[in-house]
Symmetry: C2
Subunit: 467 residues, 2 copies
């Protein structure tokens, strides 16, 4: 199965063969997180949690269900979700008086409580987040991690005294993103979504996209500035230092398990997954290479090597199954373990262990005496190689165009757009592509003309086919 030629089939095969997720659960689009996939996802959660905690966000957990009455308070918002929420109508043997929505996102669950929690400017900023599953009734074809109906998700919600303070939160969110993405070795674009594509109820939305091998983009998350669009209907106000009552300005930031879909799409190859070391459930696998007379000795050395690495904080697995080493290599290549360590009689005599990198195939030996720091160093090199390689590939997948006649099939487009809705729709209709938006933050130095009306513009726009 080849990644570049038929990305969709390749992706599904890899997810299945690597045991990342089981889609045989009897509800379409609701997959089982297997131990291997869940471990990787939880490392991602951990990085997000760390950055949010470090920036003064408090973790909470809100109820899953939202009464229809609360859900419908912000009109644009409900319009956006009308056709894709699950409804609980009965409990036990009773029909409920008020139907309950399974959260597709938690604005309408949280904001009635924010109205109770916030009294004065001293309660601001309020910065909270939760890591939960959300529910969307997808009607398009589902695909593990990329388009599912139960979605693992983090969402942070903040309230501020002013639009400017909320704007500073958006900057902080992009810094958090940059730190998390680095650990995942994931390049991305930040684009200000068009008016007709922004989040229902938002003032503006910044989309976080990455490019797949088929040239389509995958949106992994988004950051929203709400101004007072929610605080007015939900009556979230504070008393400022002059005793005046004002509505808070709000932001949200969310990313989902699509991060994992993005990682699989970006890094893996025809042999299988390549796990970025920081999220790999096992960062190194030890394969004992045993002969007839040294079996017990090699097994013992493998166990001792594993303890050393564990002590060094490295997640390691000894594969002591009774099958040929070659079959083990094959299995762990599919699962994308970043580093393979082979340990045989000759290695032991030479006081080394032989390694093979999953990302480059490079082989060599590490001295046993300094194996912890040696493995650590190679894992860091793998992370940096993966990120650099992915950045180059992302750049190579962007193509600048100046006319609608020369649109490449498998590229993200960089083009001039005046920004008006008419030209935007005209472009999308003609190309059947989606405008991702202008870069966030604003980039200088571009000079171009709107591809539809010809008007000059100093900001480029990205457009793409989307996953």
């Amino acid at each position: 199965m080849e990644k570049e030629d038929n990305f969709s089939d390749w992706y599904l095969e890899i997810v299945e063969k690597a045991g990342m997720s089981d889609k045989r659960y009897p509800i379409k689009g609701m997959n089982v997180w297997t131990p291997y996939g869940w471990k990787a996802m939880k490392h991602i959660d951990e990085f997000i949690r760390k950055e949010l905690d470090a920036t003064g966000h408090d973790e909470v957990c809100f109820p899953l269900m939202i009464p229809e009455t609360e859900f419908k308070k912000e009109k644009d918002h409900i319009k956006g979700f009308d056709s894709e929420v699950y409804w609980v109508t009965h409990a036990g043997l009773n029909e409920l008086d008020v139907r309950l929505v399974l959260r597709p996102t938690s604005e309408t669950a949280m904001y009635p409580m924010f109205a109770l929690w916030i009294r004065s400017h001293q309660d601001l900023p309020l910065k909270i987040y939760q890591i939960v599953n959300v529910f969307r009734y997808e009607t398009k074809q589902t695909r593990a991690f990329m388009r599912v109906r139960e979605i693992h998700f983090f969402e942070s919600h903040t309230c501020h005294v002013s639009e400017e303070d909320a704007q500073r939160q958006i900057e902080e969110d992009t810094e958090i993103l940059s730190k998390v993405a680095k650990r995942l070795c994931l390049p991305y674009f930040l684009s200000v979504r068009t008016e007709w594509d922004k989040f229902p109820g938002a003032y503006y939305t910044v989309g976080i996209d990455t490019v797949m091998p088929n040239g389509k983009t995958l949106q992994m998350g988004s950051i929203h500035h709400y101004r007072t669009n929610f605080s007015i209907p939900y009556e979230i106000t504070y008393e400022d230092d002059k005793g005046e009552h004002k509505h808070v300005h709000q932001t949200t930031y969310g990313m989902s398990e699509r991060l994992l879909g993005g990682i699989i799409g970006v890094h893996s190859d025809d042999k299988g997954l390549i796990m970025p070391p920081d999220i790999a459930p096992f960062q190194a696998v030890i394969i004992p290479i045993q002969s007839k007379d040294n079996g017990a000795m090699v097994a013992e050395a493998a166990r001792s090597l594993a303890s050393k690495l564990t002590e060094h904080g490295i997640r390691v697995k000894v594969d002591d199954r009774d099958i040929r080493p070659g079959s083990k290599y094959y299995d762990w290549e599919i699962k994308g373990v970043p580093l393979r360590l082979e340990l045989g009689g000759r290695d032991i005599d030479n006081k080394v262990v032989t390694f093979a990198r999953r990302d480059t195939g490079e082989k060599g030996t590490i001295d046993i005496s300094t194996v912890g720091s040696g493995v650590d160093l190679i894992l860091k090199m793998i992370s940096s190689t993966l990120l650099e390689r992915a950045k180059k590939i992302q750049m190579s997948r962007v193509s600048e165009i100046s006319s609608l006649d020369d649109i490449p099939e498998d590229k993200v487009l960089k083009l001039g757009w005046c920004g008006c809705e008419e030209c935007g729709h005209a472009f999308e209709d003609k190309t059947e592509m989606k405008i991702l938006g202008k870069p966030y933050p604003k980039e200088k130095g571009y000079k171009g003309k709107c591809i539809i009306c010809g008007k000059e513009t100093d900001e480029y726009t990205l457009a793409a086919r989307t996953m």
Copy 2:
């Protein structure tokens, strides 16, 4: 508000004042986990995760919803949950063909997948767990952590080649419980539930109970042996080493946020919560005692003390609010921070910090030069004091009776029961108490007579009013 006199009111007031949970969410029995309560719960999760991982359980995450068709495969099970599940009947604008249940527990979600995952005896034992929220439509009065409709919960599920192997799993579960409960400073009883009170579908159920100050017991979790009661309807079979196909034997083990309810009930006092140090969001709070001339110096010393303690792995908070120290003491007593550290000019001169223990009120000083290990030691002493004290109180709340005429009002009863259903029902009807069951594992040395029929028995039985 006094704990002993009116436990129910005291409990609700403490939960609210300490900011552990917010029950003003617009669905009754679905409360918001506030940062303080959620931090404590996540420490509990962490201890459970650690013990389950160490005993070879793999963490997974199954979908929330279960198709009605799967849910109804095990007859006794559905009967038990019929009146207390939430039903999703619509998605988007469509009515669903098959209604979906929000999991009240995940047997019926997991077992169709187990049937796919297990092929041979080499796949066994299968040991998995998840930490998720489950949903039960409680009709009784709800109470934070103790009786809610969205319940934070861990559930482990295991499959084994034989009944004996499943039995060994139950022993392992009780060892895990003992380790976790020690960290929570929680005493408990293990009782084999009566036939009419066991989990729907179980072969037998061991209940995990603790006693509240009003003498009522709170069930915090349970361990179940299923034999093949689920593997037959869900067709979970394996091929043994002789090529024969057999049904697996199963167990489950679950505990919920009631652990936190139990902790609050057992340890707190009229001043507020007392957090066991291992789950305390803040293990120590530093109160700077500032005078007019030393404000900045004391503030700086407080920050430096906090860094030292953080480096030592202690969760610490500096309370630098601009209010009187006395008000701070009061607030942190309600919140149950185990150790208060007061730092004033004289302390700094003497190179010490003054401490006050939340559990005993004891005061003293710790040398700044060894403050990390000093605080650590006191926290350990607090844990051990809390556990010993709670064990003594639990014992004092058990009263042995030999006749139905002398039943104390606020005690757990220890009595003789022959074990037959008729006498059991007679006892429950006459006393309006519930039989918790005979001790697990079996205890020797008791000699008594059935309180109803007078037949001799060598095992005692516990009975109680329940929360």
